[in-house]
């Protein structure tokens, strides 16, 4: 099942070689938390990281992104699109986040294509890292069937060790680009029978290491929601909600955005940008004339949960909630998506 093996030090050297042609983005420690950032030296990457606070969207779908630059002149205007399609290597994406990227890929390619996302994505090589154990308490990625990923990466790293207990990355190719990058590298070696056994042991241990937090099957969530639209659960849970939007901010599959203009000092030129927005914020569904289509926190909470566990999947065919648990951890009121799912199952 393995394609190649590499030592941690050689892997860093390989990424740095890649870095001559590509920007390197990966997990960097800030205090006791991790964020995806661009680095000049792959040695700065914390590849044993738990999880990145903002997930892969912070790179692939930046919090603020310029869509075009405009210039008004003599009664007309010009608008030039801005694309960031610089080649990049995105190193250190866990399986749940690979599932989240798969969703973003579908959303931005579906119906009318979004070239701003797709060009950056097209220029990005993704190097996944499989996780041996849950990255944090409260994850329910295994329940959502998102703790493993067979696709969505160019190369996947498996954290293995050799017979002497030295750490080794086991490499699996997920694309022609990944294969091309490493196949002829002298830093990599062919996997031995012992390496293959280590990979099998890893996967068996992994399967046992992930907790089950959901009391029903993920496939049942859409029908449970279908029957719970008028449940009092929304109102009851939303009593605690501050409508702060932290869940949206940290969710790797939240991609809603606002658009805003910003003028240069000349007042004749500037940029139109998109900015992350969140359906839990009170003004999200406000229309001109001050009518709010979702004025109550309970309506907004219901909207979010329906999207995550039902509507996004129905629309795109892939998971809208990957079970990473970021929203539950970020919630200042301790509202938990998996707890809501379980309550729906219980009320059923």
């Amino acid at each position: 099942m393995l394609d190649l093996m590499v030592t941690p030090a050689d892997f860093v050297a390989l990424v740095n070689e890649l870095g001559r042609k590509r920007r390197i983005i990966g997990p960097v420690a800030r205090g006791d938390r991790y964020f995806y950032e661009e680095v000049g030296d792959a040695a700065r990457l914390e590849l044993g990281f738990s999880y990145a606070v903002y997930g892969p969207k912070s790179f692939l779908f930046p919090a603020v992104e310029t869509l075009f630059r405009f210039e008004a002149d003599n009664g007309s205007f010009t608008a030039e699109p801005v694309y960031d399609d610089r080649p990049a290597a995105f190193v250190g994406v866990h399986p749940c986040d690979l599932h989240a990227i798969r969703l973003l890929d579908r959303v931005f390619a579906q119906d009318r294509r979004d070239e701003h996302y797709l060009r950056r994505r097209g220029a990005t090589m993704i190097i996944g890292i499989d996780c041996a154990r849950p990255c944090n308490e409260g994850v329910f990625c295994a329940d959502m069937k998102c703790h493993q990923a067979d696709e969505g990466f160019d190369v996947m790293l498996l954290p293995l060790s050799d017979g002497d207990g030295n750490r080794r990355w086991g490499l699996k190719f997920g694309s022609a680009a990944g294969r091309e990058w490493l196949t002829y590298s002298r830093r990599c070696t062919a996997p031995t029978a012992a390496d293959e056994r280590a990979a099998e042991t890893f996967l068996r241990a992994k399967a046992a290491a992930f907790p089950r937090a959901l009391t029903t099957r993920v496939e049942r969530l859409p029908e449970l929601l279908e029957r719970s639209y008028d449940s009092l659960l929304w109102e009851a849970t939303a009593r605690r909600c501050y409508s702060c939007g932290s869940c949206n901010l940290t969710c790797p599959t939240c991609y809603c955005f606002d658009m805003s203009d910003s003028l240069d000092l000349s007042l004749t030129s500037g940029v139109r940008q998109r900015l992350w927005d969140g359906c839990q914020l009170p003004g999200f569904a406000l229309v001109a004339g001050n009518h709010n289509f979702r004025p109550r926190a309970a309506q907004r909470l219901r909207h979010r949960i329906f999207r995550k566990a039902k509507w996004i999947r129905e629309r795109t065919g892939v998971a809208g909630c990957v079970g990473c648990g970021r929203c539950d951890r970020a919630c200042t009121a301790k509202i938990s998506a998996v707890e809501i799912y379980n309550q729906l199952a219980e009320l059923d």
Binding site: L67, F68, F70, A72, G75, S76, F77, A79, P81, Y83, V107, F108, Q110, D111, R112, R113, D114, E115, H116, Y229, Y255, C256, F257, D258, M259, S260, D261, L263, L267, G270, R272, R274, D277, C279, F284, A285, L286, V287, A288, G289, F293, R294, Q299, H303, F306, R307, K310, W311, E314, R315
Partner: protein
């Protein structure tokens, strides 16, 4: 023959870049609403369907979604009726002939006029709802021979809010259509009917349920009452159309702002059949 060809989209281009367009005429319709006649700067015509909308761009201010209120049968220019309610529309009201704005579109799904050909048409418009549906009214008037009976019902709160007064006068005198009008509250000069728009439906002759299409555009509360009256006349749900109002931002089904439950109004709408709204609980709230 109507021009209903949709211009080719450059799919490799950014969907967010507006096209320059010039205001060729404006008309203050009421205290709050102003009409803009617009011509795209390039030789391209808008090529819209009745009921679609555009994003109007004012650089430094942003974009506002505005429904197109003229018919593609009058293809050289198009018209927008804009209520002054926010930053973009407030700034737009200060613009005049010759000023340049940005246009993205046409966006969304409009009325399926092909499905309406050969049928009897009832249009019920309330308040600002007349604006989006005026594109369809003009289409029917211009292509009158392709439709059966045409009943047009228009209600607004008070006489000062009546939109498109020239059109209204023309519709009243046009013997090819049956026009009924009411206001909720009369003033001293008003000589017409008084009462909500629902009361006009009682004045309609018997409708053939298999032959009639009903189009209802107005505030959600009006929609519910009118649908009730129309269903009571045994019009099937697939023959009842409406148009939803939401705050579209991206206009291409990504940004999330216009969602009514699982539906992106900017993509699947803004025109829907009543049958499609079943299960869309947020649609008519």
């Amino acid at each position: 023959m109507a021009v209903l060809t949709v211009p080719k989209l450059d799919l490799a281009a950014s969907a967010y870049i507006p096209t320059p367009a010039r205001i060729v005429r404006t008309e203050q319709l009421t205290e709050m609403e102003k009409l803009f006649e617009i011509e795209l700067n390039d030789p391209r015509r808008l090529g819209h369907e009745p009921g679609q909308f555009v994003q109007v761009s004012l650089f430094g201010f942003g974009e506002a979604p505005i429904s197109i209120c003229s018919s593609p049968t009058r293809p050289d220019t198009f018209e927008l009726c804009v209520r002054r309610v926010g930053t973009v529309t407030g700034r737009l009201h200060a613009l005049n002939e010759g000023d340049v704005i940005g246009i993205r579109g046409p966006l969304g799904r409009g009325f399926d006029v092909n499905e309406m050909h050969g049928r009897d048409i009832v249009i019920v418009a309330g308040g600002l709802g007349l604006a989006p549906v005026r594109s369809l009214i003009q289409y029917i008037v211009d292509e009158r021979g392709r439709f059966g009976q045409f009943h047009l019902l228009y209600g607004c709160r008070q006489p000062s809010e009546i939109l498109f007064r020239d059109d209204v006068a023309a519709w009243r005198n046009d013997r090819r259509l049956h026009f009924l009008q009411t206001v909720d509250k009369a003033d001293e000069q008003w000589r017409g009917r008084v009462g909500v728009v629902t009361t006009l439906i009682k004045e309609l002759p018997e409708l053939d349920p298999q032959q009639t299409v009903v189009v209802i555009v107005g505030p959600p509360v009006m929609f519910k009452f009118v649908v009730l009256e129309v269903l009571a006349r045994r019009i099937p749900q697939r023959s009842i159309y409406c148009s939803l109002e939401r705050r579209m931002k991206c206009g291409i089904g990504k940004c999330g702002h216009c969602q009514a439950n699982q539906v992106y109004v900017c993509l699947e709408g803004p025109v829907f059949k009543y049958g499609q709204l079943k299960g869309l609980r947020e649609a008519l709230d």
